[in-house]
């Protein structure tokens, strides 16, 4: 090997190492036992009203039109699928989508919180992924905060007469991204940096979570649009009874 080649090889490996060292992490739910007790309780308590309202909303929606049950099942299954697919991202680590944007757009954020918590419990118990103690925090980020943003954005963009598919894409995309921003905030709140406090910690966690999540959020937006196209084609009646 000539000297030039050697240098090139060294440079290339350094470059590769930099890429690899740059945040390698599982940007996902907060792990079991990783939030101090008071925050676990705090986030859990915040979730309760949403879940209660969600439960009542589901009853109301189904009471209005029993047939929407199938769409509800589909929405829940969508969350199940998307949150089980770990997808490689540009930062060299994997993360998964939330799939809650669809529910938020069709049924509103409260109903989505019920769908989300089912998935979170499944993963916490069977997969040791996320956790029972951090259920409240994870539920808030993935099943409440994200969907709320999706829902608000969707309504606003629709009022502004933006193309419907663009509305759905943007809502699902930013909802997914916001979920991970909230996760960063939750971790930062529990673990403020010595220098710079909560703000510095947020920046650190955001660096991992948000960058990893960015391409995945785009995929989530796309898939949500695809599902809505399918529903618009084949399930017009149900959608109209959801006032979609």
């Amino acid at each position: 090997m000539s000297k030039k080649q050697k240098n090139l090889a060294v440079l290339a490996s350094v470059f590769l190492m930099l890429l690899t060292i740059a945040p390698v992490s599982n940007a996902m739910h907060i792990m079991e036992g990783f939030l101090p007790v008071k925050y676990c309780i705090l986030w859990g308590v915040i979730c309760v009203p949403f879940l209660v309202i969600g439960f009542m909303n589901i009853k109301k929606v189904l009471g209005n039109d029993r047939r929407t049950l199938t769409v509800l099942a589909l929405t829940g299954a969508f969350v199940f699928v998307l949150s089980s697919l770990k997808i490689p991202s540009v930062t060299g680590s994997c993360s998964h989508m939330t799939g809650t944007g669809l529910g938020a757009i069709l049924f509103g954020p409260c109903v989505t919180s019920i769908l989300g918590i089912i998935v979170l419990i499944f993963q916490a118990i069977l997969l040791a992924h996320g956790g029972l103690t951090t259920l409240g925090a994870n539920c808030f980020s993935m099943a409440i905060a994200g969907p709320i943003i999706s829902w608000i954005l969707y309504k606003l963009l629709q009022k502004a007469n933006v193309n419907k598919r663009v509305c759905i894409f943007v809502a699902a995309f930013l909802g997914d991204l916001f979920t991970y921003c909230v996760t960063s905030f939750q971790l930062a709140l529990a673990y403020p940096s010595e220098v710079g406090g909560i703000g510095a910690s947020i920046a650190k966690f955001l660096g991992i979570f948000a960058t990893t999540q960015l391409p995945l959020a785009v995929i989530e937006g796309i898939l949500t649009v695809v599902i809505v196209i399918a529903l618009e084609t084949y399930a017009k009646d149900e959608l109209s009874s959801l006032e979609f």
Binding site: T70, G92, A128, L187, L223, Y234
Partner: protein
């Protein structure tokens, strides 16, 4: 091919590309690591090793971590449940629309 079909196919291809490209662009990257990675950041901020105060129920029951293969099994199960329901519901919708279209066609032709 209808316009919708085209849109759907293009969208799905884009989604697949976004998912696959990093795998080839970042050869040698770990893609996943472990759950320790998130805790590393916490340790870094705190300046000391963080001890989780609660271990997952399953790990307590198993007396150790869930084996990787089994974990992927359960993840597959989760995907399977989801895809099954999505496919079932969409299949019903598609068939229903076929019947509805047919019935509508019959009623208009008999008039």
């Amino acid at each position: 091919m209808t316009k919708n079909t085209k849109t759907v196919i293009i969208l799905l291809v884009i989604a697949a590309l976004i998912a696959i490209v990093p795998l080839f662009a970042l050869k040698g990257a770990e893609f996943g690591g472990s759950d320790d990675a998130g805790s590393e950041m916490i340790s870094e901020i705190q300046g000391k090793e963080y001890e989780p105060w609660f271990t997952p129920v399953l790990e307590t029951a198993l007396g150790g971590e869930l084996p990787g293969e089994i974990e992927s099994l359960i993840f597959c199960l989760q995907t399977g449940i989801g895809v099954g329901i999505v496919a079932f519901v969409l299949g019903r919708f598609v068939e229903r629309k076929k019947w509805q279209d047919k019935e509508n066609g019959d009623s208009t032709s008999s008039k």
